[in-house]
C-alpha cells in the first residue's frame, strides 16, 4: 500500500504541469515551432537583389515534417538550383532551411508564406522602387534631328546591374518615328536584351516632323524624354544642277540634271523622282518617260537627262527628294536643221553612165540617239543606194548616187524627221573612143557610102543620142563631099551617108567623126575614078 501511494505520489510529482496556454499560438510559440528570419526586409526592385530567408524549425520536429514550403506573391524563390514562386526545401538536422528571394522588378510587397505541415508563418519583403539612376544610365545623341527618316538619334542604355537574360531586356517605345535595333524590324516599340556588357544601343528615326515622346523601360524603371524631329529644307537636303538651261528643240538634245544629296539617307530615301512637263526624262536603265525615279548612288548622286521634244517651248522640271520638291525650267529653243543633219556630195557632177557614182554624205548630230540615227536618202534622178543607213560612229551616213540620165539629181537625206538636201549633176556619158567604119573603102566620084560610127566607153554606158559630127577631108585638108542621113548615136552607134560630089580628086579622103564631148574617130576612103 505504501508502495502504491509512493508510486502515485512520485508519478504526480514527476510529470510536468499541463498548461493549456502553451497551446495558444503566441509569438513565442510560433517562433519556437517555426521561426522565419530575413536577411533583409527590403530589397531593391531590380529583379536581381536577393534576400536570404531562413526557416528554423524546432529541432525536435518530427523527421517526416521537415519539408518546408516557401511561397511568395512576388519575386522568385531560389534554392538547391531550383527557382519559382513556390519551392520546398528539406530542413537539415538542426531544423534549418534556407532559401533566397530574388526581387521582382516592380515595386511591391512580397508576402512569403513558409509552411510546414499544418504550420504556416508569413513574412514579407518589400521591393522598393529604384531610382532610374540606380538602374541604368542613358545617353541620347541629340534631342533634335532632321525628320528625314534617316538621321538617327542614338540612344545608349547601360544597365548598372546585370540580372538574368530576361532582366536584361530593355524596352524602347516612342510616339513617333521608329526604332532600329540590331536584328529587329523597325518598329515603334522594340525590346532589346543587353549582352554581358549591359549596354544597348538603338537608333530612333522619323520621316515626319513631330515630337517623339520616348520611353525607356528597364527593370520596370522608366525614363522618358522627347526628341524633336524638325523639318528639312531643300537646301539642306540636296542640290540640283543642270548642264544647260536651254537646249535645242530637236527631240534629242538633252540637258543633264544632276541631283546631289547633301546628307546620308537610307536606301529607300535615295529614290529621287524627276518629272517634266515637256520633253522626256531618261534615267539610267529606264525607259524614257515624263516621270522617272532614280536611286541616288552611294555618293548620293542621281543623274537623268531631259531630252527635248521638237516643240519650241519650255519644260517645267520637278525634282523630289526626301519629299522635298524643287522645280526649275529648261527651255527648248528653235533648232536649225543643219544642226541635225547636213548633206554633201563627193562630186558636184558625174557621168550619167549608170556606173559612175556620186557619194553623198549625211552628217547627223552627234547626240542623236541610237534608233533615231537612220538616215533615209532619196534622189530625184538616178539611183541612190542604200536608201537608208544608220549614221555611224562618226555621225555620218553615206549613199551612192548613179544615173544613166543626164540631169541634176536633187538628193535628200532625212534623219529623225529632219531633211537636208544637196544636188549632183549627172552629165552625158561620153565615149572614150570612136570607131568609124565606112561601108566601102573606095568610092567613085559622085558616089556615096554609109558610115557607121561606133562609140565605145570603158566604164558604164554611153549616154544616148549623142550627136556625131562628120567631116571629110582630102589629103590636102580640103573638105570633100557631104554627109547625109546622120543619126544621133543610139546605143553607141551613129550612122551617116557620105556623098562624094563629082570631083576630080582622087586619093584618100579622111572621114572624121567627132562625138560631142570631143571624142573622135577617123576612117579613110579612097576616091577612085
Amino acid at each position: 500500500m505504501r508502495g502504491l501511494v509512493l508510486a502515485a505520489t512520485l508519478a504526480a510529482l514527476t510529470v510536468s504541469c499541463h498548461r493549456p496556454d502553451d497551446y495558444l499560438l503566441s509569438p513565442t510559440l510560433a517562433d519556437q515551432v517555426l521561426a522565419v528570419t530575413l536577411s533583409s526586409a527590403t530589397l531593391p526592385a531590380d529583379g536581381i537583389s536577393r534576400a536570404t530567408i531562413t526557416a528554423q524549425l524546432d529541432p525536435r520536429t518530427d523527421f517526416d515534417k521537415r519539408s518546408i514550403t516557401f511561397a511568395t506573391t512576388a519575386g522568385t524563390l531560389i534554392a538547391d538550383g531550383k527557382e519559382g514562386s513556390s519551392i520546398t526545401v528539406p530542413a537539415d538536422t538542426n531544423g534549418k532551411a534556407v532559401v533566397e528571394l530574388r526581387s521582382s522588378t516592380s515595386a511591391t510587397t512580397a508576402q512569403i508564406d513558409v509552411t510546414v505541415a499544418t504550420v504556416s508563418r508569413t513574412t514579407s519583403v518589400q521591393f522598393q522602387k529604384l531610382a532610374r539612376e540606380d538602374v541604368f544610365d542613358i545617353s541620347i545623341s541629340s534631342s533634335t534631328v532632321p525628320a528625314d527618316g534617316f538621321t538617327p538619334v542614338v540612344i545608349t542604355v547601360g544597365l548598372k546591374r546585370l540580372g538574368t537574360t530576361d532582366q536584361r531586356s530593355i524596352k524602347f517605345e516612342t510616339s513617333s518615328g521608329t526604332f532600329n535595333a540590331s536584328g529587329q524590324q523597325a518598329s515603334r516599340s522594340v525590346s532589346v536584351t543587353a549582352g554581358p556588357t549591359g549596354v544597348v544601343v538603338v537608333e530612333l528615326r522619323s520621316d515626319a516632323v513631330s515630337t517623339a515622346y520616348v520611353r525607356v523601360t528597364a527593370l520596370d524603371t522608366l525614363y522618358e524624354f522627347q526628341v524633336s524631329f524638325t523639318a528639312l529644307t531643300r537646301e539642306d537636303t540636296f542640290d540640283v544642277s543642270i548642264s544647260s538651261g536651254s537646249i535645242p528643240a530637236d527631240g534629242f538634245s538633252a540637258s543633264t540634271i544632276t541631283v546631289q544629296l547633301k546628307r546620308a539617307v537610307s536606301a529607300q530615301q535615295r529614290a529621287i523622282r524627276f518629272e517634266t512637263s515637256a520633253g522626256v526624262l531618261i534615267g539610267p536603265g529606264q525607259p524614257t518617260a515624263k516621270a522617272v525615279t532614280v536611286n541616288a548612288d552611294a555618293n548620293g548622286r542621281a543623274v537623268v537627262d531631259l531630252q527635248s521634244d521638237k516643240t519650241v517651248g519650255s519644260a517645267r522640271v520637278r525634282v523630289t527628294a526626301l519629299d522635298l520638291p524643287y522645280e526649275f525650267t529648261v527651255n527648248f529653243t528653235a533648232v536649225s536643221p543643219s544642226s541635225v543633219i547636213s548633206l554633201s556630195a563627193s562630186s558636184p557632177s558625174a557621168a550619167a553612165d549608170g556606173v559612175t557614182t556620186i557619194i553623198v554624205t549625211a552628217t547627223v548630230a552627234a547626240n542623236l540617239p541610237a534608233g533615231r540615227r537612220t538616215v533615209a536618202f532619196r534622189t530625184t534622178l538616178g539611183q541612190i543606194t542604200p536608201a537608208s543607213v544608220d549614221a555611224d560612229g562618226s555621225n555620218t551616213a553615206r549613199a551612192s548616187v548613179t544615173s544613166v540620165v543626164v540631169g541634176t539629181a536633187r538628193i535628200t537625206a532625212t534623219v529623225d524627221g529632219t531633211n537636208a538636201e544637196t544636188t549632183a549633176q549627172f552629165t552625158q556619158s561620153l565615149p572614150d573612143s570612136v570607131f568609124v567604119a565606112p561601108d566601102a573603102v573606095t568610092l567613085s566620084s559622085g558616089g556615096s557610102a554609109g558610115i557607121r560610127v561606133t562609140l565605145l566607153r570603158s566604164v558604164g554606158a554611153i549616154s544616148p543620142r549623142l550627136q556625131v559630127t562628120f567631116s571629110a577631108t582630102t589629103s590636102t585638108g580640103a573638105a570633100l563631099g557631104t554627109f547625109s542621113r546622120i543619126t544621133l548615136a543610139e546605143n553607141g552607134v551613129s550612122t551617116a551617108t557620105y556623098n562624094v560630089n563629082p570631083t576630080a580628086y582622087l586619093g584618100p579622103v579622111t572621114i572624121t567623126a567627132i562625138v560631142e564631148g570631143g571624142a573622135t574617130g577617123t576612117a579613110t576612103i579612097q576616091i577612085v575614078p
Binding site: 501511494v5 493549456p20 497551446y23 519556437q32 515551432v33 525536435r60 499544418t118
Partner: protein
C-alpha cells in the same frame, strides 16, 4: 455492535470495534451474580507487567438472578477503543455461593490495517475545463470505522485519505489535439480527499494524462498533470464483504 468472547480461549471472535461503543457477549459461569469488565492496552513490546486497567469504573453485568448454565452475559463498553491496539480484557465474575471473584482474561485487537475504500466520483479539472467520472481507491492512513460518527472524536485521520484512481470517461480533447488519456480511454487520478460525511468526499489532486507537444510538428506525447476538484462517494467495500 457486538463481539463475542470465548473466555475459555481467551479470545474474541473478531477484531474489536474501535471508535464506537460496543457490547461484549459471552457465557457467564453458572451462578454468576455480577461481572465487571475492564481492559488495558498492551504496548507494542507485549509488556503486560504494568497494565493500566480502564475504565476505572468497570463495565458491569448484573443479572436479575444468578446466571444459569450457559447463560450469556452482555456488557456494554461505552468508551470507544482506539484502532490498531492490542487490548487485554479482564472479566471478573462474582459467584453467589463462593462469594469469590473469578477472573478471566481475553485478548483482542482492534483493526490494524489502513483503511481502503472504493471511491467513485466526479472530478472537474479546471485548467482544462473538463469533468470526468472516475473510480479509484481512498487510502486512509489509519483504520477507519465507517460506523463511527465523524463528530464523536477527532476525525481528521478518518476524513483524510489519499485517492488513487482512473477516469472512467475520457479527458482527451478533440482529436487529441492538446491532450489524450494516459492509457486506453483512462487517465490517472491521484490526490487527496476529505470525507465530509460518512460516504461523501470532497477531494482534489492531480489528473495525470498525456499531453501533446505544443509544437504541432512534434508528435511525441508526454505525461502531464493538472489539478482537479472532486466529489465522490466512498464505498466501504470491505464491510460489504465482511457482512
Amino acid at each position: 455492535m457486538r463481539v463475542a468472547v470465548d473466555l475459555a480461549a481467551g479470545a474474541f471472535d473478531r477484531s474489536l470495534p474501535f471508535d464506537v461503543p460496543f457490547f461484549i457477549v459471552g457465557r457467564a459461569p453458572e451462578g454468576t451474580q455480577s461481572l465487571e469488565v475492564q481492559y488495558a492496552v498492551i504496548s507494542g513490546t507485549g509488556e503486560t507487567s504494568s497494565l493500566h486497567w480502564l475504565p476505572s469504573e468497570p463495565a458491569r453485568w448484573r443479572p436479575d438472578h444468578p446466571a444459569g448454565s450457559d447463560e450469556r452475559f452482555l456488557v456494554f463498553v461505552p468508551a470507544p477503543l482506539e484502532a490498531g491496539r492490542m487490548y487485554r480484557w479482564r472479566f471478573a465474575f462474582r459467584n453467589e455461593r463462593a462469594s469469590t471473584e473469578s477472573v478471566s482474561t481475553a485478548e483482542g485487537r482492534t483493526e490494524q490495517k489502513n483503511y481502503v475504500s472504493l471511491d467513485v466520483g466526479l472530478l472537474y479539472a479546471g485548467d482544462i475545463s473538463i469533468g470526468a467520472l472516475y473510480v479509484g481507491s481512498n487510502i486512509y492512513f489509519r483504520p477507519v470505522n465507517k460506523d463511527a460518527p465523524l463528530t464523536a472524536v477527532s476525525s481528521l485521520g478518518r476524513r483524510l485519505a489519499l485517492t488513487v484512481g482512473v477516469t472512467v470517461s475520457s479527458v482527451a480533447d478533440e482529436n487529441n489535439r492538446t491532450r489524450s488519456d494516459l492509457f486506453w480511454h483512462q487517465s490517472f487520478v491521484v490526490g487527496g480527499g476529505y470525507r465530509i460525511t460518512s460516504s461523501l468526499r470532497a477531494g482534489g489532486g492531480a489528473l495525470i494524462f498525456r499531453q501533446s507537444d505544443p509544437n504541432p510538428l512534434v508528435t511525441n506525447r508526454t505525461a502531464a498533470a493538472t489539478w482537479y476538484a472532486s466529489f465522490s462517494y466512498d464505498f466501504d467495500v470491505m464491510k460489504g464483504f465482511l457482512r
